[in-house]
């Protein structure tokens, strides 16, 4: 935030904010510290870089996670933006219904949704059964990269739509009329007015989809093939497998956090708002 003016901190504000700071310390700062300590310790309390060095073996997985997340984020954006544009032009009552359909899937746990999706798309799932019934051949919908991306897009789409819709629905209609009055066709209107004004929504949407995407697990394990697992699956494996290796899991987590932090810093350059504030970081 911009305002760096030194204000007097009253006793009351300390009292009101104290629970938050205690909570943040207990459940955010300390756990993060523990992860960092694990990532750089050799198991006997000594400092080591060997955990980090061992990640070289996982370079492919890390890159793949990044690539899949970028793909999923771009696809959700390409779906969410026109969708929001159309919804904003509906009557208020219809907008409410459309919004309900967007938020409804968020009521259901990601694992359950993914499980259901798998049983739909399975080699012997409902879709293939239906296709077989009407005489088409079965399709191989599961256990490939496409299925992973589909699963991610399906799960994270609402997180892209909501921030974009929110910003877009607040654009004053008279601005669009003014643009049209000044010579803009529909396409020019979107490019010169709607896009710049919805940029903050796009940036939030990208962050809200990219961050969970890059740390995805289960979706990739359940719907992907053998070569589709991602950092999230890797970390989970290092924790739960028989030969679990917490320091390596911690090192992987540290890299993941670094990736997220860097991408958010880059994104924030695009989301400077009127007040000079920026989102999240």
């Amino acid at each position: 935030m911009k305002s760096k003016s030194k204000r007097k901190i009253s006793l009351g504000s300390v009292f009101i904010n104290a629970p938050y700071f205690v909570w943040a310390a207990l459940f955010i700062i300390i756990p993060l510290g523990v992860v960092l300590i694990y990532a750089f310790s050799d198991g006997e309390g000594g400092f080591t870089l060997s955990n980090m060095a061992s990640l070289a073996d996982y370079g492919g997985v890390i890159l793949r996670s990044l690539w899949y997340s970028v793909l999923a984020t771009v696809i959700t954006l390409l779906i969410a933006y026109p969708f929001s544009y159309v919804v904003c032009r509906l009557r208020p009552a219809s907008q409410k219904i459309a919004n309900m359909f967007v938020t409804l899937p968020m009521w259901i746990n990601l694992l359950i949704k993914t499980y259901c999706l798998s049983s739909l798309m399975d080699g012997n799932g409902l879709i293939n059964q239906a296709l077989a019934a009407i005489g088409f051949g079965r399709l191989s919908l599961m256990n490939n990269t496409g299925a992973v991306i589909f699963g991610m897009v399906y799960n994270y789409l609402p997180y892209m739509i909501l921030p974009i819709y929110n910003v877009m629905s607040k654009i004053d209609v008279s601005l669009l009329e003014a643009a049209e009055d000044l010579g803009c066709s529909t396409a020019a209107r979107v490019r010169r007015v709607v896009l710049p004004l919805t940029l903050p929504g796009i940036v939030s949407g990208i962050i809200m989809v990219f961050v969970p995407s890059v740390s995805t697990f289960y979706i990739s394990a359940k719907m992907g093939g053998t070569g589709d697992f991602m950092i999230g699956d890797l970390i989970e494996g290092q924790i739960h497998n028989q030969n679990s290796n917490l320091p390596v899991a911690a090192a992987l987590s540290t890299v993941l956090m670094a990736i997220i932090l860097v991408s958010m810093l880059i994104l924030n350059r695009f989301s400077k708002t009127d007040e000079g504030g920026s989102m999240l970081v």
Partner: protein
């Protein structure tokens, strides 16, 4: 240009949800004139403006621009620009870029944009504001940016939708003068929408008075004021006493129990009429010399004049005078033939022009709220 009319509406009709907003409107606007659509909120004036801009399409009737029918031409292809009621400046662009918007859309060469924008900013007295954020400007300054943004495109017609309604009284007066100056300097046709009759009279070459989706009268401000066509126009433009009368024959009319000499002709024999007497045209004389007599029921000091409510045979007249009179005093009233204006009866007869329920509280501007 055919017949010198830049904009023409022929038989334009528009309904929303079964309610007629515009009822077979016919209107011609001459090139280069300052036209004002004047009326109360809901009278259809803004709707008419939006039809000319292209944001609305009439259900029936045709819109012509320079003699060409433009019903199906979208707003972005019409050589008109609009100044919106709340300016609608682009918040993501600074003053310069707001003004340059139309030029950039029309792919004007870059080296021409700078000088054109600066010329416009000079015209609206905003030199040096190029890099300011529009959100940080005052209402009057935003107004000027909106004017510059529209005029930089050199439209054939500028449409102004109650552009002064958000400004305070002092700024309003300044902007009225300013707009009139800009219109003269640029020679562009201005079509101005307002509910403020004073604004309309002081700025326009032609005033179009609207009510109930119909044009009630078109004319020069002086003609509209002096020769209102019906009770609505007479009441809406300035103060009027509107009294039932009988037109005995040319130049002779009877009302308030007296037969007056007037200058109106062309009515049927003994036709019932509405007679308009402007409050400032009433001469007060001693009761014995008056054509009619009345009792003052209310006298209000208004600064440069007194406003009297006078009971004349049960009908309350408003009279304005520079002399002081006491309430309950009986006075005589004399009228010059010129002071009497006779109108045919209309759908508005009896609705306006009686001051029996008049109080200063109701003298405010009931239409100050935003329209539509």
């Amino acid at each position: 240009m055919k017949n010198g009319n830049i904009v023409e509406l022929k038989n334009v009709t528009l309904s929303f949800d079964g309610e007629k907003i515009l009822d077979s409107l016919d209107l011609s606007v001459r090139d280069g004139e300052f036209v004002t659509f004047l009326g109360r909120s809901g009278c259809g004036k803004t709707t008419t403006l939006r039809i000319i801009a292209g944001f609305l399409t009439p259900d029936e009737g045709d819109v012509f621009f320079d003699g060409v029918r433009i019903n199906d031409v979208p707003p972005y292809k019409r050589p008109v620009n609009t100044i919106f009621q709340r300016y609608a400046l682009f918040p993501h662009l600074n003053v310069f870029e707001n003004v340059a918007f139309g030029l950039r859309v029309s792919k004007t060469p870059k080296e021409e944009i700078g000088p054109k924008v600066r010329d416009m900013l000079r015209l609206v007295n905003l030199e040096g504001y190029e890099t300011r954020k529009v959100t940080k400007l005052s209402g009057g300054q935003q107004q000027r940016v909106a004017i510059a943004r529209a005029l930089v495109n050199r439209p054939k017609v500028l449409l102004l939708d109650e552009p002064l309604s958000a400004l305070d009284a002092k700024l309003r007066k300044d902007m009225q003068v300013e707009l009139k100056r800009i219109q003269r300097e640029t020679g562009i046709t201005f079509i101005f929408v307002t509910h403020d009759q004073e604004e309309a009279l002081s700025m326009s070459d032609t005033v179009v008075v609207m009510e109930n989706g119909k044009i009630q009268q078109i004319g020069a401000p002086v003609d509209i004021y002096n020769e209102p066509k019906n009770a609505f126009v007479a009441d809406f433009i300035g103060e009027s006493n509107i009294i039932d009368g009988i037109m005995n024959k040319d130049d002779t009319v009877t009302f308030a129990g007296h037969t007056f000499v007037c200058v109106d002709e062309g009515f049927a024999h003994d036709e019932p009429v509405d007679v308009v007497i402007r409050p400032e045209d009433v001469d007060i004389v001693p009761p014995s010399e008056g054509m009619v007599k009345g009792r003052i029921t209310q006298a209000t000091f208004k600064g440069d004049y007194y406003e009297l409510i006078v009971d004349v045979r049960g009908f309350k007249w408003m009279v304005q005078t520079t002399d002081a009179y006491a309430e309950d005093q009986t006075i005589g009233i004399a009228l010059d033939p010129d002071a009497i204006h006779v109108m045919h009866k209309s759908e508005f007869s009896g609705l306006y022009g009686d001051y029996s329920t008049f109080s200063d509280d109701m003298d405010g501007d009931p239409e100050a709220d935003d329209e539509e």
